[in-house]
């Protein structure tokens, strides 16, 4: 009998997820054995677990790229850095949740456990290199987030959001599974490495089958990334979910899905003409960038506006992905279109490396910014007006600068970062990502993205205008005070500015992410 031979090296990539799961189990048990009234300690456990897992992943990120567990997962800097980002987001989300749940008397160990489970799913999803592994991890991540979405189940909105997310998520997961099944049928394997090797022949025989498989898998990912037109669940779910969970979804889930998408297609497209996937990514990117920003424009509900903004940000990320798959065009072809690649300076050998760096840095920036922005919103929410329609209205931010200058300054930093205004991390992230796209020759798409993000700036600045230039309404709520919330927000705000001014060390690390297994 063929008994798998497991070594320590095989367990290395999944170690961060292991840490997260152990932390989650500890939290579950703490809930039943140690259910004191004051449960901030659970948030602290969650945060520390996430930070520990992040440290483990960071250690892994400096390992050479290789396959592990018989090629079912890979260990490479790209996925490990992504895990670091997810852990960072998880740590911040746990901290934010402490105050948020405390205010609602809803502190439960299960909440943090679910957050950690979903983080474990994200981490494993990013390193999966086999369809069944991929699917299981996707479900680990999804089921945790479904539950988290409906966690405050007494309100009408969370229940609706959770249910919608579950139904549509199951639908998209089935699409992905169906696509994987088709590809398995075409190639006879579920391991990406073997699928990639067998695909050229399969494609020659049955191109329709292969493309159908591609399309279905892509649709599954596009749902998780929240790319237009697979985005329609996003605003409803993001609005209904507890705000710290929304933050984690917008940053972590997206990050994991993008990495998994890149990994899957890197293997699959190898040996094929990448033109069709390239155009598909470009179209998704274009639709998301334009659609997300346009839809955000008329929103007065800040939480919903940020949901649309997260769609736009998914579009920017997909722009980077498209750059990765841009077909090499000879220098001198002068057609500049939305879906063509026209390198300015001949072929750039390092497009892939700069795309990985750009994606990671962008995700890092988006993680700290989104966590901070949603965290500020969470702090301004009042438990008693959960059912009112104007809970997240812009008016809530009016005059915040006079009432709470520190909060207003932090929120302004987050808004500027989302809009991509220097000297914030959002600006540099956009710079790196758009720069990589231009290097790859995606001039038309990059220009479209820049134009769309200009429209987005209006949306973000409007919040700043309300905070600084409108008088506060009489019944303006004060943010609740809880040290965890304050620590998380200060950390995010400092990170947003510090990384915007001083990206050097981090980009140096991320440059190593150019080492992606299989690329």
């Amino acid at each position: 009998m063929n008994i798998p031979h497991l070594t320590f090296q095989d367990l290395l990539p999944v170690a961060p997820a292991g840490v997260l799961v152990v932390g989650a189990i500890v939290l579950l048990l703490s809930e039943v054995f140690l259910s004191t009234a004051q449960r901030t300690y659970q948030a602290v456990i969650g945060t520390l677990t996430a930070l520990l897992a992040g440290a483990v992943a960071m250690n892994n990120a400096f390992e050479p790229a290789r396959a592990a567990l018989q090629g079912y997962v890979v260990l490479d800097p790209f996925s490990q850095w992504m895990t670091v980002l997810v852990c960072l987001g998880t740590a911040l989300a746990s901290l934010l949740s402490a105050g948020f749940l405390n205010h609602r008397n809803a502190e439960r160990g299960e909440f943090y456990a679910l957050i950690l489970f979903s983080a474990a799913g994200m981490s494993l999803l990013a390193m999966s290199a086999e369809f069944i592994t991929l699917f299981i991890n996707l479900e680990v991540l999804s089921i945790s987030t479904y539950a988290l979405t409906a966690f405050l189940r007494r309100g009408p909105r969370p229940a609706e959001a959770g249910f919608k997310y579950f139904i549509l998520g199951a639908f998209s997961a089935s699409l992905l599974l169906y696509g994987a099944a088709l590809l398995y049928g075409a190639t006879g394997s579920t391991r990406f490495l073997d699928v990639g090797l067998a695909l050229p022949q399969a494609f020659a025989q049955q191109p329709g089958l292969v493309y159908a498989g591609f399309g279905l898998v892509l649709a599954g990912f596009a749902f998780k990334v929240a790319a237009v037109p697979f985005h329609m669940w996003t605003p409803d779910v993001y609005e209904g979910a507890p705000t710290p969970v929304t933050a984690l979804m917008s940053a972590g889930v997206k990050a994991a899905a993008v990495v998994a998408l890149v990994r899957t297609f890197l293997f699959l497209v190898k040996g094929l003409s990448p033109e069709v996937p390239f155009i598909a990514f470009s179209a998704l990117a274009l639709l998301s960038m334009v659609g997300g920003n346009l839809l955000a424009l008329p929103q007065r509900n800040v939480k919903r506006m940020l949901a649309y903004s997260s769609i736009a940000h998914a579009g920017y990320l997909l722009l980077g992905v498209a750059a990765l798959f841009a077909p090499a065009t000879a220098k001198g072809s002068d057609a500049v279109g939305l879906f063509t690649a026209t390198p300015l300076l001949g072929s750039m050998p390092n497009v892939a490396a700069s795309v990985y760096k750009g994606l990671l840095f962008y995700l890092l920036g988006y993680t700290v910014t989104a966590l901070g922005a949603f965290g500020t919103i969470a702090a301004l929410e009042r438990r008693e007006d959960e059912t009112r329609s104007n809970t997240w209205d812009l008016e809530r931010f009016a005059g915040l600068a006079q009432r709470k200058p520190g909060w207003a300054a932090a929120m302004a930093a987050f808004m500027l970062s989302l809009g991509g205004v220097p000297p914030t991390v959002g600006f540099l992230g956009k710079l790196y990502l758009f720069g990589a796209a231009v290097d790859a020759g995606l001039l038309g798409l990059a220009v479209a993205g820049v134009l769309a993000s200009v429209a987005g700036v209006y949306v973000y600045l409007r919040v700043v205008v309300y905070m600084y230039m409108r008088p506060a309404p009489a019944d303006a709520p004060a943010p609740f005070r809880h040290w965890t919330t304050e620590v998380a927000l200060i950390a995010s705000a400092v990170a947003v500015v510090a990384l915007g001014v001083l990206p050097g060390p981090v980009t140096e690390w991320f440059s190593r992410a150019g080492m992606v297994f299989g690329s």
């Binding site: 009998m1 008994i3 798998p4 497991l6 189990i25 579950l28 048990l29 039943v32």
Partner: protein, 122 residues
């Protein structure tokens, strides 16, 4: 005669036997069993619920918890069975793997127990 379907012959036999058993047992039971019908006994039995009325009946959520727990441990048995069969060959590797698996379920059981999901009345 080597048809590609040859390996499936045992499967076909099992299928046939299963179908035959399913058909035969109620028939034999009806043939052999004593019969003393009453009004209560001849009611249509359906999972403890009155069979006639609105289909949109509400069930107590406790049923679902029990059902879910049953599935979890049922699945555990499904995994444990092939492991037990191959216990010798799998050796310590198999043992460690199953120990982790079982321990996870034990933790889950402890959690469920302490949560009070196993007590019917609370």
């Amino acid at each position: 005669m080597e048809s590609p379907l040859t390996p499936y012959v045992p499967v076909a036999i099992v299928l046939f036997l299963a179908g035959a058993m399913a058909a035969a047992i109620p028939f034999i039971a009806g043939l052999l069993g004593p019969r003393s019908p009453s009004a209560v006994k001849s009611e249509i039995f359906e999972g403890g619920n009155p069979p006639i009325g609105s289909a949109r009946q509400r069930f107590a959520v406790k049923f679902y918890v029990v059902a879910l727990l049953f599935i979890v441990f049922d699945v555990e048995a499904v995994f444990l069975y092939p492991w037990a069969v191959n216990f010798q060959q799998l050796g310590w590797f198999g043992y460690a793997t199953m120990a982790v698996f079982a321990a996870t379920l034990v933790v889950a059981l402890v959690y469920v127990w302490k949560k009070g999901a196993l007590s019917w009345e609370s």
